[in-house]
Amino acid sequence: MLDHKLLEVHNLKKYYPVTGGLFSQHLGDVRAVDDVSFDIKEGEALGLVGESGCGKSTLGRTILRLEEPTEGQIIYRKTDITRLNQRELRGLRQEMQMIFQDPQSFLDPRMTVGQSIGEALLIHGVRDDKEREQRVIEILERVGLEGQQGLRYPHEFSSGQRQRIGIGRALILNPKLIIADEPVSALDVSIQAQILNLMLDLREEFGLTYLFIAHDLSVIKYVSQRVAVMYLGKIVELASRDEIFQNTRHPYTEALLSAIPGITQKKKTRIILPGSVPSPINPPAGCRFHTRCHRVLPLCHQEEPNLRDIGNEHLVACHLYRG
Amino acid sequence: MIKLKIFIFLLMALVLLTSSCRVAREAGGDYISGTSAGDAETLNWILAADAASFSYSGHTLDSLVTYDNEWRIQLRLAARDVEVSGDGLVYSVTIRDDLKWSDGSKVTAEDYVYTLKNLMFSDWLNYPYQSDWQEEIADEIVFVTPEVVSEVTFTLTRRTVDPEFIYTVRGLTPYPKYIATKYEGDAEAFTQAPEFNNLSYTGNLGPYRFVEWLRNDKFVVARNPEYYLGKNTGAPYFEKYTIKIFGTPAIVHAALEAGDITATNIDPDKVGKFKGMEQINIHTVPSSGYMLLAYNLRDNGWEGLKHKEVRQALSTAIDKELMIEQVLYGFGEPAFSFIPNTSPWYADKGIAKYGVAPLLDKEKAKELLLEAGYATRKTDGSIEVGDKEGKPLKLTLITNAGNDVRESVGYLIQQELAVIGIEVELKFVPWATELGKYLRNKVPGSDQEAAFNNGAGAVSEEPWDLLVIGFGTNPLAPSGTDVFYTTKGGLNFWGFFNPRVDDLFKRVKSAEALDEEVRKELYAELSRLIAEEQPVNFLAFQLANAGFQKSVQGIEPGINMGYNYHLWYFE
């Protein structure tokens, strides 16, 4: 079980064409996800971290084929899901589910939450009303709500409760893989902890595999076994949690880590990155991070570094570690 | 080719003359005549077919002769009345010698003859009233022959006698030859000729000169200081004469009440209100327009209508006086003949007066229907009207939408016929639809071009039974009405075919009728015959109400009230 790969992503690309000019010609692409490869083992939680616009959400959605990939392979249990048609895909949907970020938006305001959760069952052929109702009640209770609350509309719940409902909806099909797209970033600190705990509990109970997307390294650290760091459409570092946090290699990851304000640690020197993330339409030549990097080499301007294993299953894309 | 001879004698339309000597007055003031009727279509009179167009150009261009309220001749461009040879074939016209075109050149007999020969009779211009100037000789239609006699005299020679041709001649107006030759032969150029479209050629031929015509808004003419009738009198006396078009009658009436306009026609139901106003004068005058109810005698009408008794029965059931009182508020007189009672030819001796007592009797009507087989007597003695199978009768009445008086008449007929047990369904259709789908007819399946009378077998596209329409008859020349009542009559759309009527009309237009007594007798005979046959039910002659500001002086109320309008003045 341990080394069994549930999901493999090979050279995945997702480009959004940019059109403009006189005849709406193709001017270029937003390279939201640009040649990304990684895998997730069964039962593992992979944390995906990066700043807004780095392509982490797009990556998550592309894996589920909510966005059509431009290039590359997504292999789920030996099936390349990029080649599936819509019907075949629907079968796979039961196994892969998503948890969304915005509690104001991920529930249909015109449906009761019971309907929202039950919809999944309905789509996947659970036609029996009693059975559906029973399962909806069960799952509601499992995520910490009352079955009776299934009759209510989303606007009658708080953000934290809505996130519980979102989790419930994702879980009702008994999926194997959950892609959680910033599930706690819109929540208050005290609620955040509740939801994170819930997700951890459920993982054990249902034997789930997580791809946990977040911008907050402290959250990532808490929930994942391995961590991938994305910058401008690429994975720049990928390693086990302990490696990432204790043996940080990529300058960007270093900067991210140093930027987290903690309350108990001593004031440390902070790496402050200059400027902001460049446009994904025209990413800088060479290493994409070189415009902000505090340890930049001349080589970084010309050559794009590859993601390389520097040992201990620690992958990093940086010329500093060319070996 | 047959023309539609619907003359509408609008009061303001007549621009006519008198040579009576009056004291010269100071000219002054703007005369504004309001109307809610449609605008004219053209000022180029030869192309015109609507009354408003003749009226507009008439302000700048007199005809040879006009008539006063008693139908007496009033000379205009003619030096003396048209002379007819003893055999009734040669018409001699002498015009005044002081008539000038705008460039100062004299108006001559040559201009008239040119206008007749090269314009009105031409085949490139397609003058709408050509048939007035044609006669039928050995199945061929030919024009009368105009000929210049002298500078001011010309003759028109016919080969057949038509005693009423003289009225056509008297209405003649000329085009200047020197301008018209430029456009001769090119209909489009003629249609768009600037001189004719802005009446810049009219010289001293009319009391006013053209100033401006803003379509659908106003037509403005200004006093013509050189007017040939104004030499001694200084006429006309209005500096400016405007015809102002309004969107709705309510606003025209409001404008008269507010004093913004000088004169307008007043709807019958509003006369009472205006009569109470200090500043307004109302003249109630006869008109030659009348309303009638036509019966469809063609194959797509109710078959009962083909029986004279049935038509008489229907006419007996409709109360004309009630109609006049209720719809026209009293401003009308019952009609029984196609000749208006204001006409010198009107004779009502022996005419069956359907629709007024004693020929107004709903029970009598039912009995007539019973006799014709369109009713059954019930056990209680009452008569129930129905068709041959005994089913209730349902007739369709058509009239043109938007004419409130005609719609009202329709409703009233519906009400009246309901009393004798006939259900009438009203259909108000646009005028163009009425013409195209109800009046024009053709023999089904044939490749005929639909026309108003395509012979006995022809029927209209849509079936109808009754139709309310208004006509005008020229009171001086009723013989023109033959188009409605003779077998070959081009407007005999209702399909009335009667050899005796044909014969009588033929005689009216023959040498025999040169004797006015004979003609009068013939007309009386025709009136009696048509009244007896009742192909149509004549309903009422309407009385017009002209409202003026009190300040307008010199008006002589009467049927041709406008004949001396150039002598009118502001107090």
Binding site: - | M1, L4, L214, R215, N216, G247, A258, D260, L435, G436
Partner: protein, 327 residues
């Protein structure tokens, strides 16, 4: 930023190109409508000829030449577009002049009416709307809202007649009709346009008040207003500079959109009621004279006018709104 100039030029060319497509679309729609109508313009023309007692058979040939009815449909279409393009808009038989001449003499009457009403309606409407929004839920707001609802709901053809009855007939303050003899550019003309302009403006003004109010409210709730206030700016500056600047952009679009739907229809009725010899009246009379060419042309002209206005609005908007300008 160096791309900016090019971009703007490209944008304008693109808009023009779209406008051209829309223009062709308009022509096509009218062409199809006229073609599939139960009576073709030729029929109506012939009916008119017949109604005047003229010979129909003679006219048929001329009609066929004019409308090219014997030619294939696409040729007729090309003919139709080409004629319109050349300014040959047909002959109006009910007025005996070329349609283009008719339009040339009458457009000014419509224009003055629409121009004055739009300006007045926009100015007053926006002013009341601002007031209403700034004092939301106050008495002013309630009164303005209530009256604007009444304004929107009054049928303006009805209002016009009532105004004439009251002000012209009963009070004698104005003439009962529009006097086209008065020069367009004169005070007297302005005076006699008072009632017509009020008639059109009532509904429009009410609409603008509502739009402005909601556009202002939208922006009044935005955070940058709070920023402006936190800067200590006087309320006048906050409303006038910060809020209104933002509200005015969507307003322009709405006002221009209204020009087509509300103002043109309003002018149509008003011209009929007040007897103003503008295009609406021309079209109204042409309907009753069955004068096809005029009805088609007036419809086309107003559509093209709106197209132009939209084009100008679009470009102006692009220029005024930095969010679009530098995007």
């Amino acid at each position: 930023m160096p791309m900016k100039k090019n971009w703007l030029r490209d944008y304008i060319i693109k808009r023009l190109f779209f406008a051209l497509i829309v223009a062709l679309g308009i022509l096509t729609v009218t062409f199809i409508l006229v073609r599939i109508g139960p009576t073709s313009p030729a029929d109506k023309y012939l009916a008119n000829i017949a109604a005047r007692g003229q010979d129909v058979s003679q006219a048929v040939a001329a009609i066929e030449a004019r409308y090219g009815l014997d030619k294939p449909l696409y040729e007729q279409y090309i003919n139709y577009v080409a004629n319109l393009g050349r300014g040959d808009w047909g002959w109006s038989f009910s007025t005996s002049m070329p349609v283009i001449e008719l339009i040339k003499t009458h457009w000014i009457y419509s224009f003055q009416l629409i121009f004055l009403s739009s300006i007045l309606g926009a100015l007053v409407g926006i002013l009341i709307g601002i007031l209403s929004a700034v004092r939301q839920y106050s008495k002013t707001d309630y009164i303005a809202t209530f009256f604007s609802f009444i304004g929107i709901s009054i049928p303006n053809f009805w209002l016009g007649v009532m105004l004439i009855l009251l002000f012209s007939v009963k009070l004698g303050l104005f003439k009962t009709y529009y006097d086209s003899g008065i020069p367009i550019f004169s005070l007297d003309n302005l005076r006699q346009l008072t009632l017509p302009v009020i008639t059109i403006t009532t509904g429009m003004l009410a609409g603008y008040t509502r739009y402005t109010r909601s556009a202002m409210l939208d922006n009044l709730r935005k955070e940058f207003v709070r920023t402006a206030r936190a800067k200590g700016l006087p309320e006048r500056t906050v409303i006038g500079k910060h809020v209104f600047r933002n509200a005015v952009l969507p307003l322009i679009t709405i006002i221009m959109f209204d020009l087509g739907s509300i103002v043109f229809a309003g002018a149509y009725f008003t011209e009929i009621v007040f007897g103003i010899p503008g295009l609406g009246r021309i079209s109204f009379n042409a309907i009753f004279a069955d004068d096809y060419a005029v009805v088609v042309t007036v419809t086309l002209i107003s559509a093209f006018l709106i197209l132009m206005i939209n084009l100008i609005t679009d470009i102006t908007y692009t220029y005024l709104d930095p969010r679009i300008r530098y995007d």
